[in-house]
């Protein structure tokens, strides 16, 4: 089944984190997932968690460039959510519920393995960032995530010049890298 061009546009928008596209996808599919989770012993918060995780899976896939969706976004999101929800139940070591299929399902195991690995990396970086403390955290985020120049950063953080800011950034970066790689290489 070829997906129509409308859905392709949405995916391209999603990959850019374009607000309009994300909002459309959110609006179209959230209620379906909420019904799925709530009907299967979940709470509304669970539904929100699971749905947002599924959108992250879709986002990172769309971003990877090699991605070609050969089913509807709806089917994909539904399948991922269903799998994530079953998995969470399994982790809590409760009973594994029978989740009845209200929609079509496609296999997504492989995708979720990739997602799991990325989750781990993300949490590693998040933890390292947190342990780093201020002002290092904000300093590095300004430079590497918001891609701001050393000049601007020096002004904002009250360093006398860009060189001083650079020095400080270097020290912070070394600490962050050390913390990150200590865990990452395991």
């Amino acid at each position: 089944m070829r997906t129509d061009s409308n859905e392709q546009d949405l995916l391209r928008g999603l990959a850019q984190n374009d607000k309009k596209s994300v909002e459309t996808i959110y609006k179209q599919h959230y209620n379906m997932v909420q019904t799925l989770i709530v009907n299967n012993n979940g709470s509304i918060d669970d539904a929100k968690d699971i749905f947002q995780e599924a959108l992250i899976v879709l986002y990172e896939k769309a971003k990877s460039g090699t991605f070609e969706l050969n089913c509807l976004i709806k089917t994909y999101v539904y399948s991922v959510c269903r799998r994530l929800w079953l998995k969470r139940f399994h982790q809590l070591q409760k009973f594994t519920p029978e989740v009845e299929n209200m929609e079509d399902v496609i296999p997504v195991e492989e995708e979720l393995e990739v997602f799991e690995q990325r989750n781990k990396d993300f949490m590693l970086m998040e933890k390292a960032m947190q342990n780093l403390g201020e002002p290092c955290k904000s300093l590095l985020e300004s430079y590497y995530l918001q891609k701001r120049s050393m000049m601007e950063i020096a002004g904002d953080f009250g360093y006398t010049n860009a060189d001083n800011a650079k020095n400080q950034k270097y020290k912070c970066l070394m600490r962050l890298k050390k913390m990150f790689f200590e865990q990452y290489k395991k």
């Binding site: 509304i44 959108l55 986002y59 990172e60 969470r88 970086m125």
Partner: protein, 370 residues
């Protein structure tokens, strides 16, 4: 200095910002020097991870915003399905009748029980507040003197008489501990796991339930980000795994155990019995379930029995809080009290224990009563 220049070069190389000749020169270096090559490889991995981290972080926050916007605009609904509503409409009246019958019966039974049940003899219990010994007091004042040189904040007060544990229920600085830890004290201070001390005032003491509410009143206190644990309105089940965090000494100590009885000493239904190692100083500390929700406040230990520790059920916190909020003299003294909001759900659910503790420990304080 040399390394900064090197790193700068590597970053420009990875980003493709080098001039052609510079690039050739650098690649030459990379080929001849394995250390340089290793640095480039490592930094590429790191920048890649950093990018992914940033992208996901951004995306997560836009998802969060979109959810709230759509919800406010009414485009998505947070309700648990139409089926339940239909059932509710249909059986509303039946339910009302049933509920009122149940209510009357429950009242009758609880009246009977309170009439017939034996009064607890508190002689057999010891409070788990910690007497700080002379030695420790001396050591502390010595430490305080040493700290004079480092910190602007001078703990030059007489040493504490009694110590316990307390935990935040609201990041604005509201803590819960045991009433017996702070009762009869002139002043109360709390100390976090990094050793910072904060002045605290007692908002409310309820000797009956043995709960006390404190508020941190200190300009050095910076509100922490939202609470990692929730306070549970339900009490746990028999045999459920629990854990505790407290300060039987100046270091935070973790304890693990299980719920061993759903009532407390001599059938006290406001408390429960847990099997966990507890020592003086643990008093007032939280008892958490495996999801990281607070289900009780550790309070007493039976003198003759080993391993019989009692905790006040967390729903007493809600009850006490309601009493506080309805007391106009307390509210008048500090209007922020009426804004106390207790989050019902933990955000560390599903994490492994080590991660849970890492997130929770900053919210647990030593309570020192002078």
């Amino acid at each position: 200095m040399q390394e900064i220049v090197m790193l700068d070069m590597i970053e420009r190389y990875i980003r493709g910002e080098m001039l052609p000749e510079e690039r050739v020169f650098f690649e030459e270096q990379r080929k001849n020097n394995p250390v340089v090559d290793q640095m480039v490889v490592e930094h590429t991995i790191f920048l890649n991870q950093m990018n992914k981290y940033g992208e996901r972080k951004n995306f997560k926050s836009s998802l969060h915003d979109i959810h709230n916007e759509l919800f406010e605009a009414g485009a998505i609904k947070e309700e648990s399905g139409a089926r339940i509503i239909k059932l509710w409409r249909k059986y509303k009246r039946v339910l009302a009748v049933a509920a009122s019958i149940a209510g009357v019966t429950a009242l009758g039974i609880s009246g009977l029980i309170s009439y017939l049940s034996p009064k607890a003899d508190t002689k057999d219990l010891i409070y788990l507040g910690r007497k700080l010994s002379i030695l420790e007091i001396n050591q502390k004042s010595l430490n305080a003197k040493l700290n004079d040189f480092k910190t602007p904040k001078v703990p030059a007060e007489p040493a504490a008489k009694l110590g316990g544990t307390g935990f935040l229920i609201d990041v604005k600085g509201f803590l819960v501990t045991n009433a017996h830890v702070v009762n009869n004290s002139n002043s109360v201070k709390v100390q976090n796991n990094k050793g910072q001390e904060f002045n605290t005032k007692i908002v409310y003491i309820d000797l009956k339930s043995d709960l006390a509410f404190l508020k941190i009143n200190d300009e050095n206190y910076k509100p922490l980000s939202s609470l990692p644990y929730g306070i549970s309105k339900t009490s746990g089940d028999l045999g459920e795994q629990i854990f505790t965090l407290g300060y039987p000494r100046d270091e935070i100590v973790y304890g693990e155990g299980y719920m061993s009885a759903i009532t407390g000493f001599e059938g006290d239904t406001l408390a429960c019995q847990i099997a966990v190692a507890a020592n003086p100083g643990n008093s007032g500390g939280p008892v958490l379930d495996k999801n990281g929700d607070v289900i009780g406040v550790l309070s007493t230990r039976q003198i003759q029995a080993q391993g019989a520790v009692f905790a006040i059920k967390s729903k007493s916190i809600f009850k006490a809080l309601d009493e506080i909020k309805s007391d106009s003299t307390i509210i008048k003294s500090d209007s922020t009290i009426s804004d106390i909001k207790i989050s019902p759900a933990s955000s560390v659910k599903g994490l492994d224990r080590i991660q849970q503790i890492k997130k929770i420990q900053d919210y647990i304080f030593i309570v020192k009563s002078y």
